[in-house]
């Protein structure tokens, strides 16, 4: 469903040119839960931003359900981000002066969903990510890092995207909450056929995915997944 073809992204920093994404190609079928691991600065976030149409590649293309992002005009790319993509940012990027519910409602507002419907869905999503109901109306800048991370995940799920790109979604969570988020993501890929690509340093998470990629100096390689026996039978 998502096809990455010879993707390159270079940055010019001073007189040096860096290539955090250097000729990356892979394919992911619909409903796959995949992970990307790699050292800090290896280009994981850069790759994710290209898949999510936040950034444009220096060369190469991303083809989603047969449609190439390179050929899309800006307005179509905006629509692609709004309808097809759920992005969980490494730094959450929530709107600090809005409440948790309002943040989750934002993508639905842009999608033109009625107010009552989006309020109800936003509350359901916040319950799913285990945010205390009494914190739903609280402003983002009065929530803890882990709480903000869960609001960011809820926001990414708001428009029922076909592809979720999550940059370290469990990085700020305790083990128990992290496990719950992992379970939530795998149930989405399993039950809703959502394609999910997570960047993670979390071994537990990486081992629960269907496929695992490693990014090293801009080069992507696939590694075998060592699935725990318990999980494999599930």
């Amino acid at each position: 469903m998502i096809e990455v073809k010879n993707l390159v992204r270079t940055f010019n920093s001073g007189d040096r040119t860096i290539k955090p994404v250097n000729d990356v190609s892979f394919e992911l079928g619909q409903g796959t839960l995949a992970s990307i691991v790699g050292k800090s600065g290896s280009g994981k976030s850069t790759l994710l931003s290209l898949l999510g149409a936040l950034d444009k590649p220096t060369s190469g293309d991303v083809v989603v359900n047969g449609v190439s992002l390179a050929s899309m005009p800006d307005a179509k790319l905006t629509e692609y981000r709004r309808r097809d993509i759920g992005f969980v940012f490494q730094q959450f990027n929530l709107i600090p002066n809005l409440s948790a519910v309002d943040n989750v409602m934002l993508p639905m507002e842009f999608a033109g969903i009625r107010k009552a419907a989006r309020l109800q869905r936003a509350k359901e999503l916040l319950v799913q990510v285990q945010l205390d109901p009494d914190k739903h109306a609280r402003r983002i800048n009065r929530l803890s890092g882990g709480e903000q991370q869960r609001v960011a995940i809820a926001r990414a799920l708001a428009n029922e995207p076909k592809l979720i790109l999550a940059d370290e979604p469990t990085g700020n969570l305790d083990e128990q909450t992290g496990d719950h988020i992992i379970e939530l993501l795998s149930s989405l890929s399993r039950d809703h056929n959502t394609t999910i690509l997570v960047v993670t340093h979390d071994r537990a998470l990486a081992n629960k995915t269907d496929r695992r990629f490693r990014l090293q100096q801009g080069n992507l390689t696939e590694e075998p997944v060592h699935r725990p026996v318990v999980s494999a039978s599930a």
């Binding site: 936040l54 905006t78 730094q91 990027n93 002066n97 409602m105 934002l106 428009n159």
Partner: protein, 485 residues
């Protein structure tokens, strides 16, 4: 959470800054509104004056302008000549008299101060008007105005002057019109009937009649001759009502100048023909014989008001522009500051127009707050601003007492019928009282319509000011989310 709710929320995100921005905006908007109110008030006054002047031209003897006297008096033949000029619909001759209260005149003559201050004993260089005695007492006290004008006139006023009232103007008119050519508003009694024949009937201004406890049918005297009050009129101004009208031949006889006219009031058939008729009249009568003036020297007052109008208009535009600029700069700053947040909105799929609209609405919230405070400021300040503008301007006009500029304004205001023959000495209370009256009658009241129009233009300017920064948001790329703050 709608776009509007988000915009309102964003406007209050930094409360201290919002308060500061609103305060600065309020000053600019308040100034703009006050200037607009002043401008509208003056424009209304100018229109009113123009309408009152309308199609009337005044002919005075050449050289008589500014009450400096001189020149040959106008005659009945010239009136006939003027009437024959194309587009002239009516010519009314006038003769003016100055009436002094008999007992006051006697007292003053006895005290010996009468001839001293140039106040109203025949102006410098003025042709001494035959001052006639009357049983009437003027409705206006000389009071401060008289004293002030003597000072302005350049002569030394005596501190020991007895209290006295101003003279009363008596005007002989050839038709039932006042000295500006306007039909007299008779409030009681009747007119004088045949204005071309001598009669012992007179029309009195309401305040003058009241002061002397006269009603229709009462009698009074001018140089020991008895006149009957045929009617009362209301000229609308205090000075205008301190007057007596008699028929033209009566005034000519009283003045001892049969057949002579102090001035002619020429009515032109339409406003468009006024300018050409003025030229035609000048040619027909000869500029060496007659001065033809439009609007009884209202030009001075009008140009004074006109400059106030222009100043206030320019100030309105400048203040409005300042408000727009403040909004522009604030919004540019906000867009820069929220670059990353705009990136977030784009990353989660917000269309450019939604983001742009959000910023325009935020600017409008600031403009609305600024307008609310600014309107309050304007409603307190506009009266003061308008009168400050006008008094500055009228001072500069009247402070130039070269041949009757100040006096000309006076004529405009209260009784342009004072013809050139020097009937009224310059520096009379009339000129200044009249000018003040004219100009202070521009009341700058903050009418809701004008304020609404002003706030409308503030919003227009706010939208324009916010549009540039709003369009800048379109250039921000979603990848900004990954950049540090």
């Amino acid at each position: 959470m709608s776009v509007l709710a988000r915009s309102v929320g964003n406007a209050f995100r930094n409360k201290v800054r919002t308060a500061a921005v609103v305060a600065v905006l309020a000053v600019a908007i308040g100034l703009a509104l006050a200037m607009l109110v002043a401008n509208q008030a003056v424009a209304a006054k100018v229109q009113e004056l123009n309408a009152s002047v309308g199609t009337v031209l005044t002919v005075n003897p050449a050289g008589g302008q500014g009450f400096e006297g001189g020149g040959e008096p106008l005659t009945a033949e010239q009136a006939a000549t003027a009437a024959a000029v194309p587009n002239v619909s009516a010519v009314v001759g006038t003769q003016s008299l100055r009436l002094r209260n008999a007992s006051e005149a006697a007292a003053q003559a006895a005290s010996g101060t009468g001839a001293g201050p140039g106040g109203w004993q025949g102006g410098p260089g003025g042709q001494a008007a035959a001052s006639l005695t009357t049983s009437l007492t003027a409705a206006i006290d000389a009071g401060t105005l008289g004293g002030r004008n003597q000072a302005v006139n350049g002569t030394t006023g005596t501190a020991t002057q007895p209290d006295r009232s101003l003279p009363v103007t008596a005007t002989g008119i050839g038709a039932e019109v006042d000295t500006t050519g306007k039909v007299l508003t008779i409030t009681d009694g009747t007119g004088l009937g045949d204005y071309t024949a001598e009669s012992s009937s007179a029309l009195l201004g309401t305040t003058l009649a009241e002061k002397n406890s006269l009603t229709v049918g009462s009698t009074f005297t001018i140089t020991d001759q008895t006149y009957t009050v045929a009617g009362l009129f209301d000229a609308g101004t205090t000075f205008g009502n301190n007057a007596v009208y008699v028929t033209l031949p009566t005034a000519q006889t009283l003045a001892g100048l049969p057949g002579e006219l102090a001035s002619m009031i020429v009515t032109v058939d339409s406003l468009e023909n006024v300018a050409s008729t003025k030229t035609a009249l000048e040619t027909a009568l000869g500029t060496d014989k007659a001065d033809v003036t439009q609007g009884q020297n209202l030009e001075t007052a009008l140009s004074s008001l006109g400059s106030v109008k222009n100043i206030s208009l320019i100030a309105f535009i400048a203040a409005l522009g300042t408000a727009g600029l403040i909004i522009l700069l604030i919004m540019v700053m906000l867009v820069r500051e929220r670059r990353r947040e705009i990136g977030v909105l784009k990353a989660i799929g917000a269309p450019n127009r939604t983001i742009g609209l959000q910023f325009v609405l935020e600017a409008l919230v600031l403009a609305a707050l600024g307008s609310a405070v600014g309107a309050a400021i304007a409603s307190f300040a506009s009266g003061g601003i308008a009168s400050a503008l006008i008094s500055t301007n009228s001072t500069s006009t009247t402070a130039a007492p070269t041949t009757g500029r100040g006096a000309a304004m006076a004529g405009a205001a209260w009784g342009p019928g004072l013809p050139g023959g020097g009937t009224f000495p310059r520096g009379e209370a009339g000129p200044f009282g009249g000018a003040a009256q004219l100009l202070t009658s521009v009341t700058a009241s903050a009418s809701p319509g004008v304020i609404a129009a002003g706030i409308g233009s503030v919003f227009g300017v706010a939208i324009i000011g916010a549009l540039v920064p709003a369009l800048l948001t379109a250039r921000i790329r979603p990848i900004e989310v990954l950049r540090g703050e």
